[in-house]
Symmetry: C2
């Protein structure tokens, strides 16, 4: 087995030019004549040469890698986002170094250090919260970071989310206007800003209407916990409608309602979710939900990150993308009357 490591120097020799010439041919915008360009390209092709990204990163200080931290891919929302992020970044000549992090801070700390070791040009943290210490660590490592689908008070950190407060409000308005009175909430992981904002918006409208939460349980973004939350919520004095903090849990809630408790959706109870993941539109669920416009969120995320990479002075941005309420069949449109 003879391994085939072609360097720019070898190409240079074959093409009869200097190594720098070869380098320039492969550096967009560098000054090279057409003649040497063709000579070099030809030599490169015949040898199968391609520039070594690592060496490139070494000298230029830019690795063109973006570290992406994700906590878990079980919730369909994240694979979809990841796929789009990767594609979008690939289009711009960046590549994704992926890291799975536990939810605890310790694990995130370690992961961020490992990411930094690889000299990534930027970091996207999806579904994870950052300690302020960490974000500072990245800042003076000169590595910009943006939060995806998670907000943070920390003023100099960019964050892209949907407008979760507004989304929560939309759901409350809809539920009220369709005649529901006993309205409950199944919460996600309380550490998540998305969870808090959705709940806050939701409750604020309830209160405006003179209502308060009929009951509340915590599903923690975990299927089994959501099932348990559902059981205990419907044990006695069940609500007429439940807002579940995300679709992922909402599926478990619907299944429990239907197949364990024997309830009809939406006749006996309305269920509303949040995210609009693919399965929400599957006939088995037809979940009424607020859509998080993944493609827009991804595009914004990438844009802001790259802007920050190219111009470190760029101001941090907090972006909230508005998402529509998607009416399907899991919630009654006109209650009783």
């Amino acid at each position: 087995m003879k391994i085939n490591k072609i360097t720019s120097a070898q190409v240079a020799k074959l093409a009869g030019v200097s190594q720098s010439a070869v380098s320039r041919v492969f550096t967009p915008g560098a000054s090279v004549s057409l003649k040497t360009t063709t000579k070099v390209k030809e030599a490169a092709l015949s040898l199968g040469y391609r520039p070594n990204s690592i060496a490139r990163a070494m000298v230029s200080g830019k690795s063109r890698m973006i570290g992406v931290v994700v906590a878990y891919l079980e919730n369909q929302f994240y694979p979809e986002a990841l796929e789009r992020l990767s594609n979008c970044l690939q289009e711009k000549g960046y590549h994704v170094l992926i890291f799975m992090a536990g939810k605890d801070m310790q694990s995130i700390d370690n992961v961020i250090e490992e990411i930094l070791d690889y000299q990534v040009d930027g970091i996207i943290a999806a579904s994870v919260s950052m300690s302020s210490g960490l974000s500072e660590r990245c800042r003076n490592a000169g590595v910009p970071m943006v939060l995806f689908n998670r907000a943070q008070d920390e003023p100099n950190m960019s964050a892209i989310t949907s407008d979760n407060i507004e989304g929560g409000k939309k759901i409350a308005k809809f539920l009220i206007s369709s005649g529901h009175k006993k309205i409950s909430y199944i919460a996600g992981w309380e550490g998540a800003s998305t969870q808090r904002d959705r709940e806050a918006g939701f409750i604020s409208i309830l209160n405006d209407a003179g209502l308060s939460l009929h009951s509340r349980k915590v599903g923690n973004f975990v299927l089994e916990e959501s099932r348990e939350a559902t059981r205990s919520m419907f044990l006695n004095n069940p609500p007429e409608a439940v807002f579940v903090a995300n679709d992922h849990m909402a599926f478990a809630v619907m299944d429990t309602l239907r197949y364990e408790l024997g309830l009809k959706i939406p006749d006996d109870v309305s269920v509303v979710g949040y995210d609009d993941v693919p399965a929400a539109s599957w006939p088995s669920y037809l979940l009424t939900t607020v859509q998080q416009p993944v493609n827009i969120m991804v595009r914004e995320t990438v844009e802001i990150l790259i802007e920050k990479i190219e111009n470190p002075e760029a101001r941090p941005q907090k972006i909230k993308v508005d998402g529509p309420l998607i009416l399907r069949k899991s919630a009654k449109i006109h209650k009783g009357n």
Copy 2:
């Protein structure tokens, strides 16, 4: 904004030792005295030094990055596999550079070149097939590659799959033994070895029993196409049982059967899938399916790849992991009486 790039040289100066000493402290197994180790560690800590992985990769020729190519993450099987792969690799000190590839060969070619540019130590190709040209390209770039959930005739390429032929057989036996006579198949993408093997095993047992496929349609691993396949398959002379090439499509098939065609599962028709993704056990589906033991497959994949990285002479391996048939409620156990 003052950026904080600490090098081993700075640590060396502070600790009063040579730069090589610092390097050795951070190289497991290198020869350093306890005294210098502590001096260096202390200095490193106070400066916040961590070795630069890129520089390390440059000189050592090992980037400790593994390129993972995935075609799409919509099928739940892949996010789950990806998560586990990443974790498993992280444990062994490797990191995942992820690439999304279209299904067409051209796109894969490009992607592989880009991966190679990053000097990855190995490549895992999940849900993608390789042209033999490509695998040769990787071989003389000295970068080992292993196929995950896809097999290839190419003799010197390692591949890990479940035993798809056997799995197909199990399903056929089960369907026959539970009394089904009219048995149909909804195929995945015909280019996939998984699809072909599952079908081959399935049909072989049918034939052994003197049966042949009642009907066959192609879903192509795509939801909408699977729905369409279902509609046309049940238009007239519908089967008593359908084996759908993977769970992902099976959900769409079940939904179409139930909500468009008004059929009862399993009373009117039995459905069997393949993969055992999380949603297969959700009460809405309770899909009878063959489990692909992801954790075992991932462990094998990583093991084989790393073996090949550490010892390039290692022989390529084709591994088939056996997976059990999981009996749930989507297929009748005793047909008729």
